[in-house]
């Protein structure tokens, strides 16, 4: 009996995570990239003009956005080698399960990058560790869902093109903008110690974007892999 949508989603996600666990190349690259990004921004700004605490939320979201692109690009490039992706496409699983499986693996992957990077950013920029880290990880989790939902869809479209590395950011970044804006604004307010009520509308917007992008991208995915 062919697997249900949930079973197939898990089979695909598990396979992607196992491959990343074995190779770890993309994870290490993305973490190193994030650390370097944090360092470059730290030294590029004058602390007399903008305090590191004010700078940190924006920097963190720029770095996470670019790290997310690295992560989602990897998810379909592993299917190109030896045309392993054809094996997925000739299987009886729903196309939506392939998308959702890859998106879940990417969410875990990007989440793991954030788990490493957020504490380092807090230490680096002198933020109150205990207060800031849980807040940033919480917002990070919400934003990651939206970023990955869009990025995974566009990665599937870009992977078969000759300029995949260039095309993916070009396609994704305009759609990342509302997510990064909501995440950045809410992080800024919460890190500055402002009351939660000031951030709630941004967080609601983040949840709304997540829902819209998950549904729209899941429905669109089967058409992006048509040849």
């Amino acid at each position: 009996m062919r697997p249900s949508l949930i079973q197939a989603t898990w089979i695909v996600a598990r396979k992607d995570l196992l491959i990343e666990w074995r190779t770890r190349t993309a994870f290490i690259s993305a973490v190193v990239f994030s650390m370097l990004g944090l360092a470059v921004f730290y030294f590029a700004w004058s602390p007399t003009a903008v305090s590191p605490a004010d700078l940190a939320p924006g920097v963190v979201w720029v770095v996470f956005t670019l790290a997310a692109i690295l992560a989602v690009q990897r998810s379909f490039s592993i299917e190109l080698l030896e045309r392993a992706g054809d094996g997925l496409l000739v299987s009886p699983v729903d196309r939506e399960a392939i998308y959702l499986g890859k998106a879940i693996a990417n969410i875990i992957f990007v989440g793991a990058i954030q788990l490493v990077t957020v504490p380092v950013a807090a230490l680096f920029y002198g933020l109150p560790f205990g207060e800031v880290v849980p807040v940033m990880l919480g917002i990070g989790a919400l934003a990651t869902v939206g970023l990955v939902a869009v990025g995974t869809l566009f990665a599937s479209m870009a992977v078969n093109t000759r300029m995949a590395e260039l095309l993916l950011p070009l396609l994704s970044l305009p759609f990342f903008l509302p997510i990064v804006m909501a995440a950045g604004q809410s992080t800024q307010r919460l890190v500055a110690g402002r009351p939660m009520s000031e951030s709630i509308s941004w967080l609601k917007m983040l949840v709304a974007f997540d829902l819209v992008f998950i549904v729209a991208c899941t429905l669109a995915f089967p058409y992006t892999i048509e040849e």
Binding site: M1, P3, K15, G87, P92
Partner: protein, 239 residues
């Protein structure tokens, strides 16, 4: 007996190029077609159309009475062996086959995968990462991946590529076994003896069309090779 695999006017254009041009044929259960043709004849494109990996520009491919494209259940009845191994180099041989088994909803996927690897004579390397295996061994794993769900239709694109003599013998015997069990097969090959050994029908494809189809039973391989040379203008590989 209704055909298991049926193509009607199957056509695929890439721009203005007609890669497959109005191909029509039918194979009943247990029938097998060896497809010969020079490079660029459209053989691989035809296989990808039949596997549902490509959308036909016109015509239809029907498997067990349902359109090959779009019907997930139908896809589950197809096994595909392609030019590439379709394996993940970072996974072991067993993990690759088991992944395919799970996608196809095979009962006891671990046991079925081990049995498929055993059948291809590669069970001893089940725990080896695919990237550490030789090309021939990878091909054996790839074949195990394609048959783990006991497909009713097997589409094989140069399945003997990279196999040594013992691997080729294992593959031939397995294809005979599957055919006896009722599987329909389409085998793309350049090798006349390997192709005719596993087929009930031999077809020459040229310029996206079937130029000739004949029964293999009682056929003289040398005569067929001569006919192929006359049609295609090139020699066939003999062994």
């Amino acid at each position: 007996m209704p055909p298991t695999l049926e193509a009607t006017g199957l056509t695929r254009l890439f721009g203005r190029q007609r890669a497959v041009d109005g191909v029509t044929f039918a194979l009943a259960a247990g029938e097998s077609m060896a497809l010969f043709g020079p490079n660029g004849a459209g053989k691989t494109t035809l296989l990808r159309l039949l596997a549902g990996l490509l959308r036909p520009t016109a015509g239809s491919a029907v498997i067990s009475g349902s359109e090959a494209r779009g019907d997930a259940h139908v896809r589950g009845r197809v096994g595909l062996i392609s030019h590439q191994t379709m394996l993940y180099p970072a996974l072991t041989a067993l993990e690759n086959v088991e992944f395919a088994a799970r996608l196809h909803g095979v009962e006891s996927p671990r046991e079925a995968s081990l049995a498929a690897l055993e059948r291809m004579g590669i069970a001893a390397r089940q725990a080896s990462l695919v990237k550490t295996l030789s090309r021939g061994m990878q091909q054996r794993v790839s074949i195990a991946r394609a048959i783990v769900h006991s497909p009713a239709v097997l589409l094989l694109d140069e399945p003997y590529t990279g196999l040594d003599a013992s691997g080729a013998a294992v593959l031939s015997s397995m294809l005979h076994e599957l055919r006896r069990a009722g599987a329909s097969m389409l085998v793309v090959t350049h090798n006349v003896s390997e192709g005719l050994a596993v087929a009930t029908h031999a077809t020459v494809m040229l310029g996206g069309r079937f130029a000739s189809t004949e029964l293999v039973s009682g056929m003289d391989p040398a005569g067929f090779a001569e006919k192929y040379r006359a049609l295609a203008g090139v020699e066939m590989a003999a062994a």
